[in-house]
Symmetry: C2
């Protein structure tokens, strides 16, 4: 079981769940109403999101409210950092190709 954040956001339904609970905590039933799947399927997604700490639970009577652990999303942002420098300069990927080819040609 891999269960890292990149695998977690790979699924479109999970991304939608993340967006849904980003602003307001929601119960599995309430979340499931927004998708064409069963509550159990949503529950499975929530388990995966919980396992990689993207999501938080808060029991309230017999209901469980799920909310986004927004801090965790920074990890994706952090990974993107290494590329940010590339797309922000005038030296784009085309220049890379050309310089590499030139080098190979000698």
């Amino acid at each position: 079981m891999r269960r890292d954040i990149f695998q977690a956001i790979a699924d479109p339904t999970r991304r939608a769940i993340i967006t849904l609970i980003a602003l307001q905590a929601m119960t599995p039933n309430a979340i499931a109403e927004n998708f064409n799947t069963t509550r159990q399927a949503v529950s499975k997604h929530l388990r995966i999101l919980t396992e990689c700490e993207l999501v938080q639970q808060e029991q309230q009577g017999r209901e469980i409210y799920y909310s986004l652990q927004v801090e965790k999303m920074k990890e994706i942002d952090k990974w993107l950092d290494q590329f940010r420098a590339l797309w922000e300069t005038r030296f784009n990927q085309l220049d890379n190709v050309l310089s590499t080819l030139k080098k190979k040609k000698k």
Copy 2:
């Protein structure tokens, strides 16, 4: 076949490939040397990356140089935008939970 950028970066090997060719175009053989897999496996990853336009090819004789289409990475950054506001303000996810619970309690 889903083949979107989020599914593409879900695999750790593919993320490593992306990092590897971000600065310099490389051939499949050269890329494969960095991993404990066959060249064919790398070739498959490259096909997936090419299909979602994360990667560019440049034929050079019988060699094919692959390089990162860094512009495409912005799409991930763009998706993160909706959460950036959340983690940058003092209102973090704990506040969300509390305010939601307060509302429910009436």
